[in-house]
């Protein structure tokens, strides 16, 4: 039973560290998260973990941790094999690794990153479920949880100890199509901005924001999707999404007030509350196609500026149901507890085929 592992060493490194006191989880802490997950996967009987190769330091610290444990007779970690391809240090590493994991038949992919990393994994993983660990900046898609629990739930799910209908959840996504030839998915939000550069990628200045589309609108997360969350909450498991038409506020407070219908204060980055003017908002029906009002600008996917479009481009945005599967950690743990999977006095503990007491 194999599991994939994508641990992004470059998430949580952008300008929001400076402007918004965002966290910058250390590489060694990311490696420690990987080790905790590996210990749980090993306990559940996962035979091999296929990991994305990277040169940002996580791999080196993980291998060091495993070697040190082995020297002391500690064999609790699931065996790790790093995929063998040249590292570019870009998102291409994630995409290539996920394609290789799919080809090798992994049962799930554990992802350490923020919304952007999860989006990159979801582009290629098809129906293989993602187990989400948040190590990014806004982390609207991956929920905040001790990775030990995510590792346990994933191990229980992929080894079949928790049945798939309980273990995995369906998630919506937004698909942006440009001229019917380019397709760009987003897991949480699609934002249209007036400027035309990718720049530092992250969006932290609301002045350029024009339109926002979200798969779910959770008022208890931060980031652009919180704008919709503060207006019209819609859950991850509900069928609809939300579209918000932004009324940009004048940068100069002394200018005449254009009085947008609604103004809300939203943490669009950690600790970074901005006032957003809203002209209107509406629900997005699953499968229905929307054409943006903005004629030229930049498309930000899950909070990062990615793709430009011009007046001649035909841009359409569709909310797709059941597009990405994730490990439902709470459901797995609840099922496992209710069915005695953690009890050592049962027939066996955790790992399938692993006798109790071993």
């Amino acid at each position: 039973m194999r599991v994939g592992l994508v641990a992004n060493p470059f998430s949580a490194r952008d300008i929001r560290r400076v402007i918004a006191n965002a966290a910058s989880l250390q590489i060694t802490d990311r490696a420690n998260i990987v080790l905790r997950v590996l210990a749980c996967l090993g306990a559940c009987g996962v035979s091999e973990v296929l990991a994305m190769p990277e040169r940002g330091g996580i791999r080196a610290h993980v291998e060091r941790g495993i070697e040190r444990a082995r020297n002391t007779g500690d064999e609790r970690f699931a065996p790790v094999r790093h995929l063998d391809f040249p590292v570019t240090g870009t998102v291409e590493d994630t995409r290539r690794a996920v394609r290789a994991m799919v080809a090798e038949g992994v049962s799930a992919i554990v992802v350490l990153g923020g919304d952007g990393t999860h989006r990159a994994v979801a582009m290629d993983c098809g129906r293989i479920p993602i187990a989400c660990v948040s190590t990014g900046t806004n982390n609207a898609f991956p929920d905040h949880r001790e990775p030990t629990v995510t590792g346990l739930a994933t191990g229980l799910a992929v080894t079949g100890q928790v049945p798939p209908e309980v273990a995995y959840a369906a998630n919506k996504r937004l698909l942006v199509s440009i001229n019917e030839t380019e397709h760009h998915p987003a897991l949480v939000d699609v934002a249209l901005v007036a400027e035309r550069v990718v720049g530092a990628r992250a969006l932290w200045r609301p002045e350029s924001l024009r339109e926002l589309y979200v798969t779910f609108a959770d008022p208890s997360v931060i980031g652009l999707s919180a704008i919709a969350g503060f207006l019209d909450p819609v859950g991850r498991r509900e069928p609809e999404g939300v579209m918000v038409d932004i009324a940009p506020l004048p940068a100069d407070a002394s200018r005449p007030d254009t009085s947008p219908a609604v103004r809300i204060d939203v943490p669009i980055a950690p600790g970074w509350l901005r006032t957003i003017g809203v002209r209107s908002w509406s629900r997005l029906a699953p499968g229905a196609s929307r054409v943006p009002r903005l004629r030229a600008g930049m498309i930000a996917l899950d909070g990062e500026r990615e793709v430009g479009f011009g007046e001649d481009d035909d841009v359409r945005i569709v909310l797709e149901p059941d597009a990405v599967r994730t490990v439902d950690v709470e459901a797995c743990m609840d099922y496992a507890a209710r069915n005695g999977l953690f009890r050592r006095d049962e027939r066996r503990a955790l790992g399938a085929g692993r006798p109790a007491g071993e």
Partner: protein
């Protein structure tokens, strides 16, 4: 509020392109002239890294100070040091920025806020702290930038400077120009904490990593960290991930590079090509205007070389001039 495609006006975009292109032509010409034997001493070329120096320096005024590295030509040009004087200096001529006594690794022009390239790795960092302390004491809103390579970032001086800058809350920005090789050693073999952002966190300051081949990424991030420093928000670290097209020094056999690596960099990761595509693609600048700048930059470098070639060497009578300064 306006739907401008760029937050930077057209003239500034053209200036940025002119600076990047001037640096590129300067370095490409040096590469040829070193091989021809026209240049005394060691030369380290900045070709491929132009976007970082250019984007950062657009946020600085002449009174803001920078401390550069052994790979300092790009920093000098972007900070406004005269190209003819630079070429004279590198050729050891009396017309040089330091009258021919410094060479490539010691070009300085205090009138432009350029405190000097530096042959000692990491040595610019404490100088930048000093300049930042001066600016803070004057209260003039000035900032200082310390450029450092990924290799020199392991030097004690650099680490001490991070500490000093943090405890004194100095208006200084440490720019780590991470071109992937400390001479010939890749970062993962040499930097224990693996991340410059982690390193900055360890000293209690924020760190940011940007794609140093993307002018706009550097421009945005540098704008934020410099504004913060000017307003009293303290130091920060800005890592620019970038690539150098040439060896560590001119003459480096580069056996540590993979086959085809440089060709791939020039084709797919050239910061000037990337900039050009961005501004022309969005219709902000006409390609013909950029072509005209290409010609101007080349002409300027040819002129600088001719000027330097014709200039005299310093004479024996210059040996003891400008060596010491009296503060009396």
């Amino acid at each position: 509020m306006t739907d401008q495609p760029f937050s930077i006006d057209r003239d500034t975009l053209l200036d940025a392109y002119r600076t990047m292109k001037t640096i590129r032509e300067f370095e490409e010409r040096l590469h040829v002239d070193v091989a021809r034997g026209d240049i005394p001493g060691f030369v380290h070329l900045y070709a491929g890294e132009e976007a970082a120096a250019t984007a950062i320096m657009l946020h600085l005024g002449e009174s803001d100070r920078i401390a550069s590295t052994h790979r300092g030509h790009g920093h000098c040009i972007a900070k406004g040091v005269d190209v003819k004087e630079m070429m004279g200096e590198i050729r050891g001529k009396a017309s040089g920025a330091c009258k021919g006594k410094g060479g490539s690794m010691h070009i300085a022009d205090l009138s432009k806020g350029m405190m000097g390239a530096n042959g000692i790795l990491g040595a610019g960092a404490p100088l930048a702290c000093g300049a930042a302390l001066a600016a803070k004491r004057r209260g003039d809103g000035g900032v200082a930038i310390s450029f450092v390579g990924d290799g020199a970032s392991n030097q004690g001086m650099f680490l001490e400077s991070l500490n000093l800058a943090a405890v004194w809350n100095l208006p200084v920005i440490f720019v780590v120009e991470n071109n992937g090789y400390a001479e010939s050693t890749a970062m993962e073999w040499a930097v224990a904490c693996d991340s410059y952002v982690d390193r900055a966190s360890g000293f209690g300051m924020p760190g940011v990593t940007v794609d140093g081949t993307d002018f706009f990424a550097v421009y945005e991030a540098a704008g934020e960290v410099i504004r913060r420093a000017r307003e009293g928000g303290g130091p920060s670290l800005l890592e620019c991930k970038m690539y150098r097209f040439y060896g560590h020094f001119e003459g480096d056999a580069q056996t540590y590079r993979a086959e085809g690596e440089v060709e791939n960099l020039r084709e797919n990761h050239d910061c000037i090509k990337i900039f050009r595509a961005a501004v022309t693609g969005a219709g902000a600048v006409d390609p013909a205007d950029l072509n005209a700048i290409d010609a101007e930059a080349l002409a300027l470098i040819n002129e600088a070389v001719a000027h330097a070639a014709a200039a005299p060497m310093p004479g024996p009578e210059d040996l003891e001039t400008d060596v010491y300064i009296s503060y009396a």
